[in-house]
Amino acid sequence: MNSLRHAALLAASLSLVLLGGCKESPQVLDKKAGEYQGKVDTRPWEGPAYKGDKATWESDLRARSGNQNELRRMPD
């Protein structure tokens, strides 16, 4: 009787463990934005060029994106 209960318990816990194997646990630790492992990885607009002016950075980047579109300068 006892051993049967033990066996059932064992089977249940074993299957739990086995099932656990199918799930990928989160591989990356949580990080705060702009901070990485103690080092500060400044966000692009926080560097010397933009000094935190995100709006300007974004509009500059958008303008830069436009350069990849030759249709802008070659209308039909």
Binding site: L18, G20, G21, K23, E24, S25, Q27, G38
Partner: protein
């Protein structure tokens, strides 16, 4: 249909298609048949690349030129499978398995305790391992421990040590571990070959081994089962552990260690899976070996430590070997029915 509406319709269709494709769905332009491969198509080339790229997306081999990976696969799908296996079953089950074996041994120790000598040590010593054998053993064992620890760091460190140590310290440790692992690996492989050659002769099947199996080595009953130089438990460890797993882990490790020999990514994924599964099994078995060689059995370590064992220990654990070492004859065919002479101090 006038040309304007046609153009509109086409534009609409195109918009749909782009939207779908940007969102990663299958291309919607089923209407355009993919170009035929044959010579008939030499002149005409429509712009629907769906067929061309379908295989690429599936990760199937394509004729790729230049600095394509050596496997000539543009987008490999097997990497994702490897990731699932490594991060899933191998990490999780493997980890629990090691923990489980450890707990089992602890429990066994708790229940059974140390296997003590029954008789009193005589003080008379028999040479069990000569210096070459001991050196071979400890080089191999040393390599094994370094490899096991460094390997564990690489597989589980991220989950166990990293949260404790932080990235910088752990990064440094893992770097040491990886380089140690890569440098020790080849030595381990060579040592294994040497070790196997050295001990294979004494590890072949002997009739008395059957008795050992029947009595499970007497581990639970406490009964002493006679054996030659190595009992069946040791032989199991030797063949399944040191030889088979050792070579599997060693060879797959070399594949990973020397990546410039022409192996492709898929080879290395496979090698890594084999390597890590093999290593976990190897480590699990090794726990048993280490256990019995150290805290599991009184004076078991003497043979490896000094090369000599006490007669009492020899008689209790390796009776036939003891007999021969004492110059008496034991038939090779002895299946355990022969009772060895009583040890000098046997009560």
């Amino acid at each position: 249909m006038n040309s304007l509406t046609f153009a509109r319709a086409r534009r609409g269709l195109a918009l749909l298609a782009v939207t779908a494709c940007l969102a990663g769905a299958q291309p919607a332009l089923a209407a355009d048949a993919p170009p035929a491969t044959s010579e008939a198509a030499t002149l005409v080339q429509p712009g629907n690349n769906a067929a061309t790229f379908r295989d690429v997306r599936r990760g199937e081999n394509q004729s790729i030129t230049f600095q394509a990976p050596a496997d000539r696969t543009l987008i490999q799908a097997s990497g994702e499978r490897w990731r699932q296996l490594r991060n899933g079953p191998i990490t999780v089950w493997g980890g629990w398995m090691l923990v489980g074996v450890f707990i089992a041994l602890a429990a066994f120790y708790k229940l059974r305790g140390k296997i003590m000598l029954e008789g009193k040590p005589t003080g008379r010593l028999i040479e069990r391992f000569n210096s070459v054998e001991r050196m071979a053993h400890f080089v191999l064992a040393g390599c094994f421990v370094l490899l096991a620890l460094s390997g564990l760091t690489m597989l589980f460190g991220k989950h166990v040590l990293l949260p404790l140590m932080g990235h910088t310290l752990f990064g440094w440790l893992a770097w040491v571990a990886k380089n140690l692992h890569n440098l020790t690996g080849p030595l381990f492989f060579v040592s294994t070959l040497f070790f196997v050659a050295l001990f294979a002769r004494d590890n072949v099947w002997q009739r008395v081994d059957a008795l050992w199996i029947r009595k499970a080595g007497g581990l639970l009953s406490g009964e002493h089962v006679p054996s030659w130089r190595f009992n069946f438990g040791e032989k199991t460890w030797f063949w399944i552990g040191v030889t088979i797993l050792g070579l599997i882990v060693g060879i797959s490790g070399l594949v990973l260690d020397f990546p410039g020999l022409g192996q492709i990514r898929q080879d290395m994924q496979l090698a890594h899976l084999v390597h890590s599964v093999g290593a976990i099994l190897f480590m699990s078995l090794s726990l048993g070996h280490i256990y019995i060689g150290t805290i599991g059995m009184e004076r078991a370590i003497d043979g490896m430590k000094s090369g000599y064992v006490d007669e009492t220990w020899a008689l209790e654990h390796h009776a036939y070997w003891y007999e021969t070492a004492r110059g008496r004859k034991v038939s090779k065919d002895d299946d355990g029915t022969h009772t060895p002479a009583a040890a000098p101090n046997h009560h």
